[in-house]
């Protein structure tokens, strides 16, 4: 394709054509389904076609220039960077697990929604524009230059690697779950296939390639998330716009929950043992508790997720790619707009799925029906086979009670098209969307890790004389190695998607939040303070997580493994302030540098 004025000036056109092409592909698949092509083949085509497109973009964006490899040439327009950030940000957890979380855990779970969106206010106001003006390639690059010295840089690299690696294994796991379901292959094989796709997108073109595949992945994932919800809402007459219509549905769901005894009818020990890790519905969709403890748990989760958002390097580094400080700022707003599109739909999806299953007046309702009938439903059979659904007639009355239906939260997204009786092509689309979400985040994370290792550890600390070519070769080898390590850990199947994701946020905020923010906002912050803040905060958080998770310690004040940033962050702040004040103020040059990043005008600090 020949484009006048080059790729950057034709982005709307290119991605417009791409979107139409993708919709065309979905329609062709729908026609093929009507013609009798099997569901399995359609699944293969969805997964194969989308991965092929991403890999193609990755190969076309190959580069041997370090500015393009590390920061996409700093020419990504604000809106497109917003889309790329949204894909970078919305992981398998957002796409696959979030609606299911709201379904099973109700109101308290929505703290994730608040935390994962409000964090962007912190990114926009505290960090993104200043880091962009600084002109760094990686987040440790900022820490290393602002505070000076290899030790500070090294600490930042370690925290980045631990946080991002925890996160990336969850994403590769997510890729494996979706691919194994859609392609009907074993989980371990799916993990490695997923990794191959991920690496194809990032290996040759670094940040430049990842940026343009992430935009493409955002388009796929948002279509895949919204289309079934709109379809379902209109099919069942819930209202034209599900996000607005959900509030009446919530009231109806609350009536049904009372009717079915949600919250009072608990599964028996025997039933739960038979169901293993699957869960029955035990809390209502909107049981906002009035106890102090419940409120405290909600707010602490919000704080941890917000501060984590503002310290996760794979998110921050997306704002290094814009053409100006102004564009970086603007771009944070656009990121949140695109994220919001999915996040404000998730509760609606949870609510409507609940309505479909709980309402005895609907054809899709299963609770209260006879177990023999429910067991003959196609989606129940299919998802029971793969261990996502379990029916256990505890009281032996032959009817399905709320405490006899066990499920994995993920099916709210993955199986909804089938539950609602939509054509299989929609399931294929959802699989492609889930894959896009997990792959795009994995790409961003792998790149963040490999870049920190190649730029900060190898180039800045080990071999400052390395030429560009060597650096980029090292960067790619590291990318392969980190990816393989991630897939290896993921293949062991150690953690659920969400546990590991929340850990990553707390690792990042314990170690990096205050060193980053105070680096911009407090001139007096110095090297000793930053190092103390990073080591102390990260160490305290790590220790607390270990003790609560594996050491058998009772959590303090209800701060469980999802909230250990509440321990790490205060330690980090106090140490950083006290140690900074107890030691010498930063030199004149550093002070000037901070002044320089506080105004948009002029050259980037590192370019000067």
């Amino acid at each position: 394709m020949k484009l006048e004025g080059g790729f950057i000036n034709n982005l709307s056109k290119v991605y417009g054509i791409y979107t139409l092409g993708f919709l065309g592909f979905v329609i062709i698949m729908a026609i093929l389904e009507q013609m009798g092509v099997s569901a399995e083949k359609i699944g293969w085509m969805f997964v194969g076609f989308t991965i092929f497109i991403y890999a193609l973009i990755g190969v076309l964006s190959r580069t041997m220039e370090s500015k393009e490899y590390y920061v996409a040439g700093r020419e990504v327009p604000a809106v497109f960077n917003g889309m790329a950030t949204a894909a970078d940000w919305m992981s398998g957890a957002s796409f696959i697990a979030m609606a299911g979380g709201i379904y099973l855990k109700g109101y308290p779970y929505m703290a994730f929604l608040v935390g994962w969106t409000g964090g962007y206010v912190l990114v926009a106001s505290l960090l993104a524009p200043y880091l962009r003006k600084f002109g760094c390639y990686t987040v440790p690059d900022f820490i290393g230059t602002r505070y000076g010295g290899n030790l500070a840089r090294f600490c930042a690299v370690v925290i980045l690697v631990v946080a991002s690696f925890t996160y990336v294994t969850a994403q590769i796991t997510g890729t494996g779950i979706v691919a194994s379901r859609a392609l009907n292959i074993p989980f371990t094989a799916a993990v490695w296939i997923g990794l191959a796709g991920i690496l194809f997108c990032s290996m040759l073109g670094g940040m430049k390639a990842v940026t343009w595949t992430q935009v493409a992945q955002y388009i796929v994932l948002i279509i895949a998330y919204l289309l079934p919800v709109f379809w379902m809402a209109n099919k069942f007459d819930y209202g034209m716009i599900p996000q607005l219509a959900q509030f009446d549905a919530v009231l109806r769901v609350q009536e049904l929950e009372a009717l079915h005894g949600v919250g009072t009818l608990m599964p028996t020990a025997e039933a739960q043992a038979a169901a293993g890790k699957l869960a029955a519905l035990k809390v209502g969709i909107n049981d906002a508790s009035d106890t102090l403890m419940a409120k405290w748990k909600f707010l602490t989760l919000v704080i941890c997720m917000m501060a984590g958002t503002a310290s996760l390097p794979h998110v921050l580094m997306r704002y290094f790619t814009t053409s100006s400080v102004r564009a970086a700022r603007q771009s944070v707003g656009w990121s949140l707009v695109f994220i919001f599109m999915l996040y404000f739909t998730a509760p609606a999806l949870a609510t409507f799925t609940k309505l479909s299953l709980l309402d005895p007046n609907l054809a899709t309702g299963i609770i209260g029906k006879s177990i023999a009938d429910v067991n003959s439903i196609e989606w129940v059979q299919k998802w029971s086979q793969v261990g996502f659904v379990k029916i256990f007639d505890g009281n032996g009355d032959g009817l399905l009670q709320i405490n006899e239906f066990f499920m994995k939260g993920d099916i709210v997204v993955l199986a909804t098209p089938e539950i609602a009786g939509l054509p299989y092509v929609i399931s294929g689309l959802v699989a492609a969307g889930g894959l896009a979400a997990a792959m795009s985040t994995a790409d961003g994370l792998l790149l963040a890790i490999a870049n920190a290792l190649s730029h900060d550890l190898y180039y800045k600390i080990i071999d400052p004389k390395a030429d560009t070519k060597t650096r980029l070769v090292v960067a790619r080898i590291l990318l392969l190695a980190v990816g393989a390590a991630g897939a290896f850990v993921a293949a062991q199947g150690l953690t659920g998607i969400l546990g590991a994701v929340a850990w990553a946020f707390c690792f990042a905020n314990s170690g990096l939040f205050f060193p980053l923010v105070l680096g911009v906002w407090w001139k007096r912050a110095n090297r000793a303070g930053a190092i103390a803040g990073m080591i102390g905060g990260f160490g305290a958080g790590f220790w607390y997580l270990y003790m609560v998770q594996f050491g058998g310690m009772t959590p303090w004040l209800g701060l469980d493994g999802l909230r250990f940033g509440m321990i790490g962050m205060p330690v980090s702040l106090v140490l950083m302030v006290v140690v900074s004040l107890a030691t010498e103020a930063p030199d004149e040059e550093t002070m000037k540098m901070v002044d320089e990043i506080r105004i948009p005008k002029g050259k980037a600090v590192l370019d000067a």
Partner: protein, 85 residues
């Protein structure tokens, strides 16, 4: 510009005050509102206000807040002549 006369607030002072205003609104929609989540839900059958705020309301507020902040900060940069060319 006349605002830059001695004694007048500097660009950074005003950026800081904009930050504090932004964070105040952020604080309200992040924490204060959800503290009253149960009260906002009201009696059975009334509009689920707590659910709305957690599931949508705060998110909408954050989007508007960021664009408001960005516009203000851009104006501020231009006023002090420190915006990019």
């Amino acid at each position: 510009m006349s605002t830059q006369a001695t004694g007048a607030p500097s660009h950074w002072d005003r950026s800081k005050s904009l930050l504090f205003k932004t964070l105040a609104v952020w604080f309200f929609f992040s924490f204060v509102v959800h503290w009253f989540g149960d009260a906002l839900n009201g009696a059975a059958g009334s509009f689920p206000g707590g659910y709305f705020m957690a599931g949508q309301g705060s998110q909408i507020a954050f989007v508007i807040l960021i664009f408001w902040f960005v516009t203000k900060q851009n104006k501020l940069d231009e006023e002090y002549g420190v915006a990019e060319d």
